[in-house]
Amino acid sequence: MAERTIAVIYFAILGIITTAFGIADILVTAGSGSFAIGILEIPDDLFRGGWGGFIVLSAGLFYLSGIRNFENIHQFSKIIMGSILIWIMAGCDIFAMITESIPGGEDGSWFNTLDGFLGMYAPPYAPAVLLLPFSLMVVYYIFKRKQDI
């Protein structure tokens, strides 16, 4: 029972933060500017900020709508779907970093230097990348659910 309450509180907080990030993404893109604070950066591009923001917002809403009656398989699947959307967004951002880090640049050598390569992975990060580690908690509950069955 206590563990269930912890899970509900955890995904409720994650849902609220994810929803807030999604709204911030959309608002920053609508204002045609970029936003950076600490290790967080919201890009000023319609594709990642606007379209991507809608997906982060949807992930937050999936979390929030899934926390009620958490044990029900259909409700739990919404929590999983929230995490899957975060993985899609973060996966695309990380893949973009990888593809940018390999070539050596327009006038440089064929491949990037080690410093240049590692520098591409330095912060700031997009909201979905920051949310990624927290979204992985769902994997624990998937396995736990399998064990309980």
Partner: protein
């Protein structure tokens, strides 16, 4: 031994008792997630996320990593200068056709058969087509495509089609040729006509999308938006005016499955081989023919004659006549040509939309003839009307927004 009906039913009962297990079916997590992807309220955000991933990976892999990262360096830094030095007869007509502009410092501007032609085909289109077909095969083998068909069924009914129409539509985003063939999965003549017409006009192929990603990355979204709006608006109109039936469809949605690498590999390889058998000859031929037409003055002549239509009605420079002729052979080639013509960003958007909607490439055209001459002629009549109306409308929108 001949059995009576009762004996047959007894036999069926015996077999069923031994093979069928009865009981209450409990939903698994996979079932529950599968249901989420079909219900509109939850399925639409998921579909939007999958499309986002599709285009994000497409752009990062084909554009950033391969074309910008390596192919531009290979072609502009090594292959183009080498061709310009080694090919004899600098300034002659053969040099112009094969190598192109001797002063060009990049493969887009050279526009020779073996410079721009090979760069477009191998440097830009090959990585784009590879990643497109790889992701399409993954979505097919995972079992997502039937879910997308169910999800989009209601919307496609508004334009006289049904959920299955997503198959030719998405295939056409790779290449219009298999897309036209795939219209056969639609049941009625009306549906096939609407689908074929919309594919030929509003669906850019993977090669064209790849080249747009390379030459107009900032405005590509607007081009695609105009095409999507056109797809639905003209689809709605066609549904109203074309006689015939648009039946419902019944689909068995399979469970999600883990894709098999061997299957994915076979599919991607088969599609790439098929695509390149068509693409490389047409790209090279397209460069050659357009260069010959430039040399004999035909394109300047067409540009002059159609100048009022281009400049006053469509709001684009008359120099776009050349790319529009090239578009009949290859649309990717035409967009590459447009990139070196001086124009405003809005004119570029209009010109690329015009190249997309103006005429199907010759390979698609041949496939349309194969599907029925009457349908093809009808599609062409619609196409010319749409080009004229939609091209003018885009110009008008630009004037009203103060950007044209």
């Amino acid at each position: 031994m001949k059995q009576t009906i009762e004996q047959r039913w007894d036999l069926i009962d015996k077999i069923a008792k031994q093979t069928v297990t009865f009981g209450e079916y409990t939903h698994s997590l996979k079932d529950a997630i599968g249901e989420l992807t079909i219900k509109p309220f939850t399925g639409i955000p998921i579909a939007i996320a999958i499309m986002y991933a599709f285009w994000s990976i497409f752009g990062s892999f084909a554009g950033t990593l391969f074309t910008d990262g390596f192919m531009v360096k290979i072609f502009d830094g090594h292959f183009l200068p080498w061709m310009q030095n080694i090919f004899p007869g600098d300034g002659g007509w053969l040099y112009y056709i094969i190598v192109g502009d001797p002063l060009a410092d990049n493969s887009f501007e050279a526009f020779g058969m073996l410079t721009s032609g090979l760069f477009v085909a191998i440097g830009v289109v090959l990585p784009a087509i590879f990643i497109f077909y790889l992701m399409l095969a993954l979505l097919e083998d995972m079992g997502y495509m039937p879910r997308l068909a169910v999800l989009i069924d209601t919307v496609l009914h508004k334009i006289g089609l049904h959920g299955y129409a997503i198959v030719p539509t998405i295939l056409s985003l790779g290449c219009n040729v298999p897309g036209v063939t795939a219209t056969r999965i639609l049941e009625t003549k009306k549906q096939r006509f609407i689908m074929m017409t919309l594919l030929a006009i509003f669906i850019p192929c993977g090669a064209q999308i790849g080249i747009m990603e390379e030459v107009i990355p900032d405005t590509m979204g607007w081009v695609l938006l105009y095409l999507i709006i056109g797809y639905f608006v003209f689809g709605y109109i066609l549904n109203k005016i074309v006689p015939g039936k648009s039946p419902e469809f019944l689909i068995d949605v399979p469970p999600y499955r883990k894709p098999m690498i061997s299957n994915i590999g076979k599919k991607v390889w088969g599609r790439i081989v098929g695509f390149f058998k068509v693409a490389i000859p047409f790209v090279l031929l397209g460069c050659g023919i357009v260069n010959v037409l430039y040399l004999v003055g035909f394109i300047d002549w067409v540009g002059n004659i159609l100048s009022p239509v281009f400049v006053l009605w469509f709001g684009v420079p008359e120099a776009t006549a050349g790319p529009l002729i090239a578009a009949f052979l290859r649309k990717d080639l035409a967009v590459a040509q447009l990139s070196v013509i001086e124009m405003t960003p809005y004119q570029m958007i209009s010109a690329v939309v015009l190249v997309s909607i103006y005429f199907p490439c010759v390979a698609t055209f041949a496939m349309m003839i194969k599907e029925g001459t009457k349908e093809m002629l009808g599609a062409l009549a619609v196409l010319f009307t749409v080009v004229f109306l939609y091209g003018g409308l885009i110009h008008l929108i630009g004037i009203l927004l103060g950007v044209a």
